[in-house]
Amino acid sequence: MKIWSTEHVFSYPWETVIKAAMRKYPNPMNPSVVGVDVLDRNLDPEGRLHSHRLLSTEWGLPGIVRAIMGTSHTRTYVKEHSIVDPEEKTMELCSTNITLTNLVSVDERLVYRPHPDNPDVTVLTQEAIITVKGVSLSSYLEGMMALRMSANARKGWDAIEWIIQNSERENVPLCDLY
């Protein structure tokens, strides 16, 4: 079992960041996410928006890893539950893999909220619990996966920034004649 956590600050207000987070895929930094579907969406009595989504990912695992894991297909599925509270200005996202569960569990939790000292920027707190099951090298593999997650987290932050910047670009007039 490995617990990994990190924090990142986006230099954009919370609304901008979560609009991007809701439209995160596709983006050039996460090419392994190949499908996203909303399974359920509803408002709770407190006015918070719940979304349940299914993500399908194509990892392109190296042959040796596939041989060890004994699987010839590389499509994995993740289910994700997010809660957006527009009053409290929080977006919480929890995800877990629903395939390969006999081999590994990756549970992730992300929370986006305005920075307590600066409401114009947004803090993302991200944590993961990784458990590799039934393999004697499990703590080594968990360590490798934690490194992978750090690299992927960085890509995820770049992805959000990319989505924000590409949306902003649409609002820039082509000719500045004033």
């Binding site: 809701m22 499908g35 996203v36 909303v38 399974l39 359920d40 509803n42 599925y77």
Partner: protein
């Protein structure tokens, strides 16, 4: 972005556009005047649920109650 069900991608994109607009222009601004995407969501869901069954994707524990479980 594609749907997990290849035939559902167009329905997904239509729904996503509707939702993203509602999310940005109504929900985040405190406007609770109801969800204009319900019908689109139903069509899209019907397609996705079929694809999930066909592909045997293990999504236990997710309830398919549609977008209006709790109307404000």
């Amino acid at each position: 972005m594609n749907s997990v069900g290849e035939g559902c991608t167009d329905l997904k994109r239509e729904y996503d556009q509707c939702f993203n607009r509602w999310f940005a222009e109504k929900f985040l601004k405190g406007d609770r005047s109801g969800d204009p995407c319900t019908e689109m969501f139903k069509k899209y869901q019907h397609c996705v649920q079929k694809a999930i069954k066909e592909k045997d994707i293990p999504i236990d524990g997710v309830e398919f109650m549609g977008p209006n479980k709790d109307k404000p």
